[in-house]
Symmetry: C2
Subunit: 253 residues, 2 copies
DNA sequence: CGGACCCTTGATCGTACTCAATTAACGTGG
DNA sequence: CCACGTTAATTGAGTACGATCAAGGGTCCG
């Protein structure tokens, strides 16, 4: 019943090194699009950029991309699939920090500690562009556009981190979460109102600091209020305005 | 009864522009120490750095350093005093995002949106080093050490943001908060076990997503357990190990 | 002296957690 | 192909933690 990923074509024979060809296609919706396009084609910097990008994957559901404590050498842009990042505390309890969709970047929080401070786990078949960070920094020093791009990526993530702070009701959190996912899918060229939840109810609950049962109940209630249609992990947002109103205090703007 | 700030010497006649002299003194414990020292004295870059730093303040208790929506032009390092950053939602309810001590930096989350996404409010007499961000970026492009320093600052803040995520009990949050404050004071050269809380119970509660009454009750309980001594805002951590144990799931490492 | 604000303490209440049972989907091995 | 175990999701019942409401004291400041 698990439908195909929204990205459509997933497979792509695992090509370990980026080759120019049709990669442009992928890159248009990536968080690094700004940087990659800024470099421009035909310039010598193109080569610098492509030398530091490496395609890795596919990873399967449950595979670790990196683990807490791994030495930090690179950041990863999701090419296809979904990832969660999470901490595991001393009691072995997991703490989901975020979900990352195609085009989004993980690993930025490892720059300072120089080791990954969290695990990254694929939630479905997932592939990445791997950017060597030393090479990236060096390039940023020569190209202000790349430097600025990195600053903005980091700053942006700072903003989203403060989103789930705050004491809010289960309904508010859930509504905001669904709207956020939708707008992020939309920003990457997918449907913003119809998509598959690639994470379990348990992961959602953990991320939103709720119990899995509560997530289930809220989704059921939202459905009975005709805010959403949901069947398993297939989701449609029927009343985005309504959801936004419920979650307004957590949503940007 | 409000005692003097831990920093000791607060006043310093307000000098609007940085002049080299004894500034070195201040700068040793600042978050930019790495960058400033990396520049080194006697080199031409020193001038670049000092041209982009401006001393601002003093601000008094309740003064705004910047407001939500203000155009982003600079980041601020706290020279003396304390600041809170906070959102105000549509219902006018405040949401404290963080507290910043001497040597720490505010404004990094404004790089991406290019406007400040939150308010910054002084909690006591407070002064800043103001770093023009365009000038800072330009310098970073010429000086890898400065660039790296900025990356690290941003990445570090990402890590602390995920600290207060997570569903934890009031005791855990409070213990972790006190330990965190202590270690941050210690990192800047102040006592890590004896300091003044520059923020109200209400602000602490808001930051920790608790009610002010709960903060009061937990502090009272901690005192009765001889974990802390507290009188008004004067605080002493009597049993840091004990507090760390309570808050271990929120604390780094 | 009056008012505003902060902190503390007590009593009640409500949301979301916990425990528990049921159903469904899926994979494995007999 | 079916029996079985596993995992995920849903739903119900009872509970606990922290919020809310309320009252009182302390300090600062006009």
């Amino acid at each position: 019943m698990r439908s195909s990923h929204p990205a459509g074509r997933l497979p792509d024979p695992p090509s370990p090194i980026a080759n120019d060809g049709d990669e442009v296609h992928f890159c248009r919706t990536c968080a690094f699009a700004g940087a990659c396009i800024a470099v421009g084609y035909g310039k010598p910097e193109l080569e610098s950029l492509h030398c530091l990008v490496e395609h890795v994957g596919p990873y399967r559901n449950g595979d670790h991309v990196f683990r807490t404590g791994d030495p930090f050498r690179a950041i990863f842009a999701v090419r296809a699939g979904t990832v969660k990042t999470c901490l595991v505390d001393k009691d072995g309890r997991e703490q989901v920090l975020g979900f990352y969709l195609p085009g989004e970047v993980i690993g930025l929080n490892a720059i300072y500690p120089e080791h990954f401070p969290c695990d990254a786990v694929a939630l479905e078949n997932t592939q990445f562009c791997r950017f060597s960070f030393p090479a990236m920094s060096a390039l940023a020093a020569r190209m202000p556009a790349v430097q600025q791009h990195l600053f903005r990526l980091l700053s942006k993530e700072l903003g989203t981190a403060s989103l789930l702070a705050g004491d809010h009701s289960a309904d508010e959190r859930m509504a905001a979460f669904l709207c956020d996912l939708g707008s992020r899918y939309a920003a990457r060229g997918f449907s913003g109102t119809r998509f598959t939840l690639s994470m379990s109810r348990g992961d959602i609950a953990n991320y939103l600091r709720l119990a899995a049962e509560t997530v289930s109940r809220v989704l059921t209630r939202f459905r009975s209020q005709h805010l959403i249609a949901i069947e398993g992990r297939e989701l449609e947002l029927l009343d985005v305005k309504g959801l936004e109103k419920i979650g307004q205090n957590l949503l940007p703007d």
